[in-house]
Amino acid sequence: MKKVISYTALAILAIIFIMPFIIMVFGSLKEVKQAQIDPLFWLPTNPSIQNYINIFSNGIFIRWIWNSIVITVIPVITQMLFAALLGYIFAKKQFWGKEAIFWIFMAVIMIPQQLFIIPKYIMFADFGWINTYWALIVPELWAIMGVFLVRQFLQGIPKNLEEAAYIDGANDWQIFFKIILPLSFPVIATVGTFAFISNWNDLFQPLIYLTNEKMFPVTVGLASMLGKEGNFGVEMAGATISFIPTFLIFIFFQRYFTEGITMSGIK
């Protein structure tokens, strides 16, 4: 009886959760005109890849994907590196002001990101960064949440590992690259996956710092297509393509997502 209820509920919820994605993929394979009038248009009859051809023949879409890659991949790499370095420093090194600096960094998490938007817009206008990658890359080079996760992880690792290495004459850099980095790989992978998803999906910041269509990442580009009557199929083709990287990252790193969420919340 209990089993029956579980499986029934599971089936209903699974259908609800998968439905939007099915509509997205099937919708992208449909002729444009059909999309407006028929609520069942997405059913798999007469599939065509015309929407994909259309979206790629419009060169701007490829540019949007490229912009997204640039403003996502660079911060992902640097955020992983800085999370590892700073996590190591705050977990293992002794220096003046260590705790104070760390907790001041952490306190800023309390400030909603939206508060920074207006002053940063003014600053970036001064720097000449509006409509450039800089506005989206430079402020995101490191992030405190990743540092927190690595620090948390390394604090749980016994000291004698590095002490043995020190006795063998290793310096900090060698210890970092030979011991700390391989050891904290799972946490660093978590930091990377989170950074990837949040940057790839970010709409708010690029929306404000970028006004030139050529500089849009795919989120802002797709948003500019939304709601234009008559191109739901093309929209969904764009959505499907922009979803692929997220989906692949998710498939390969799912474990790191769920572990990361649990780590950052409940210790």
């Binding site: 939007p20 508060l115 490191w142 959505a239 769920t258």
Partner: protein, 305 residues
């Protein structure tokens, strides 16, 4: 003489410290400079802005509390705050409940639970733009809209949804519930796994029904998770922007103008940067109060970490 020795020992000390902590300085100094430029300075600049009129050219002009006073006479600002509170009411409890239901099902020993956990989590990693695009199509307010088509089967008349000032915010809340429930599921799943199995067995031996076990054992044991999830979803709900921007542009009749949407609108459509900064501080204070409530309760109850 004495000064040279102390100088030497001072430089020797610096040398020793550098030898010991060179890595710390090489990494931390640029990071602190970055932090001052991109976090502390904007935070302060934003506060400064709220007391000034910002001009594209020329120096900002001090205007005292003008922008703060405007807030109190601005009906749309209050409506935005109220809309955001309403959004929270529509969104928080359903997101928690759905996340808990998903976690309980996943944890109940069904087959392929890993796959389903992934499926329920998928909307979390999908961008708002994609989900909003699909949502907008599902909830079209015409007779041939997908949801209208479905509810037609049970005899409900077509609804306006996003074009109705009483329904639009509900549709946006539905989108957020769908998008975020996977996160709450992960928290609850971790909580469920940490509950001692013996508690369930003891309850079963006492002859309690599964329903009773859930409400008397599982639900109260999840108290720290309920609290944590409530706080994070509340903070998240006050920052809602993407769906209001993508689907309704704050309308119809300002019914989906949330705090952040209004901030965006004031700052970047009306170019009222100083007033937008005031609104961002309103958001900051609201979130600060929620966080302080969290801090207070965490401090009191030894069950919270």
């Amino acid at each position: 003489m004495t000064s040279t020795t102390s100088k030497q020992s001072f430089s020797a000390r610096i040398k020793r410290e550098l030898n010991k902590n060179l890595l710390v300085y090489v990494v931390l100094i640029p990071v602190i400079i970055h932090f001052l430029i991109f976090q502390i300075y904007p935070f302060a600049l934003s506060f400064y802005l709220t007391f000034h009129d910002w001009k594209i050219i020329g120096d900002p002009e001090f205007v005292g509390l003008k922008h703060w006073k405007n807030l109190f006479d601005d009906e749309i600002a209050w409506k935005a705050i109220w809309n955001t509170v309403k959004f929270s009411i529509y969104y928080i409890v359903p997101t928690m409940a759905l996340g808990l239901i998903l976690a309980v099902i996943i944890n109940s020993g069904v087959k392929y639970s890993g796959f389903f956990k992934g499926l329920f989590f998928l909307p979390v990693v999908t961008s708002f733009v994609i989900i909003a695009g699909i949502w907008g199509w599902l909830f079209r307010g015409t007779e041939d809209g997908f949801i209208n088509y479905l509810i037609g089967f049970v005899g409900i008349d077509p609804q306006l949804f996003l074009s109705s000032s009483s329904q639009a915010l509900l549709v946006l809340a539905g989108l957020s519930i769908f998008k975020v429930a996977g996160t709450t599921m992960i928290y609850y799943y971790a909580g469920l796994q940490s509950i001692d199995r013996q508690l369930y067995e003891a309850a079963r031996i006492d002859g309690a029904s599964p329903w009773k076990i859930f409400w008397k054992v599982t639900f109260p044991m999840l108290k720290p998770i309920h609290f944590y999830v409530a706080i994070t979803t509340t903070i998240g709900s006050f920052q809602i922007f993407d769906s209001a921007f993508l689907l309704t542009n704050g309308g119809p009749n300002y019914s989906t103008t949330t705090i952040v949407y209004y901030l965006y609108h004031q700052g970047f459509t009306s170019l009222n940067l100083s007033y937008a900064a005031v609104l961002s501080y309103v958001l900051f204070f609201i979130i600060l109060i929620i966080a302080l409530i969290q801090r207070k309760y965490i401090g009191k109850d030894p069950n919270y970490y």
